[in-house]
């Protein structure tokens, strides 16, 4: 089964997600699409982190005999997964705030095209 998710494949997946996210943020003017792209960037990072965590775990877990050191190594090696959880929560918060700002922007300008909002300039 390990061959199914080799690090290479996962990294390509993550790189693709990241690139799509960056491209989306840069190229689109619709705030909702931009929000989706931003989320995609974070998802890409999540994927990478989970991969790293798994790799480190397989490297670092070997040879622990006692329960105590095993547990410590377990948590230490799974830092990446904890990080992922945190990023997910933060991403949710970000979406919430983003949608709120979107609503505010729509109310004041009747448009969610970000380039239309250019009152502040020079």
């Amino acid at each position: 089964m390990e061959e199914l998710f080799t690090p290479t494949k996962v990294l390509i997946l993550s790189g693709a997600l990241m690139s799509i996210g960056v491209y989306g943020v840069l190229a689109r003017r619709n705030l909702i699409v931009m929000l989706m792209s931003l989320e995609m960037m974070l998802v890409a990072v999540n994927v990478v982190l989970v991969l790293f965590s798994r790799m480190h775990a397989s490297e670092g877990m070997a040879g622990h005999v006692s329960q105590h050191t095993y547990e410590a190594a377990f948590l230490g090696a799974h830092t990446g997964q904890i990080f992922t959880l945190m990023i997910m929560t933060v991403a949710a918060g970000e979406v919430g705030v983003g949608l709120a700002i979107l609503v505010a922007l729509y109310r004041s300008r009747n448009s969610i095209d970000v380039d239309q909002a250019r009152e502040l300039r020079l």
Partner: protein, 118 residues
């Protein structure tokens, strides 16, 4: 970790750069004829007969937002819940403070009428 992996990571980084660079070059130097049509869901040029989707009520957004937030925050409570014995009184207090924040936000949303569907 092997060097192969590392190269892939670099590849991923380069990918970002290329994506960004291409988009940047394209939009900076390419002809920019943007308009409503270009930004519409179907950019092939055929005129849209009518809206393909109903506009969502903004109240839906609001509710969805609140749902997502409360939904996701429980992610942080579950790890505590499965291990609560280990953290004793201190953990209880800390989790309580966190929970206090959640409850406060719920009351806030409620009081402000964000949960009403009128």
């Amino acid at each position: 970790m092997t060097d192969r992996v590392l190269n892939l990571v670099i590849f991923a980084g380069v990918l970002c750069v290329v994506a960004g660079g291409a988009a940047a070059v394209g939009s900076l130097f390419g002809p920019a004829r943007r308009g409503k049509t270009k930004e519409s869901p179907y950019e092939c040029g055929s005129p849209i007969l009518n809206e393909t989707r109903k506009k969502f009520d903004v109240r839906f957004f609001m509710l969805a937002m609140i749902f997502i937030l409360f939904d996701i925050e429980t992610v942080l409570l579950i790890p505590y819940a499965v291990q609560y014995e280990r953290f004793g009184v201190a953990g209880l207090v800390i989790a309580g403070i966190f929970f206090l924040g959640l409850v406060e936000s719920l009351i806030y949303a409620w009081k402000k009428g964000a949960l009403d569907w009128k």
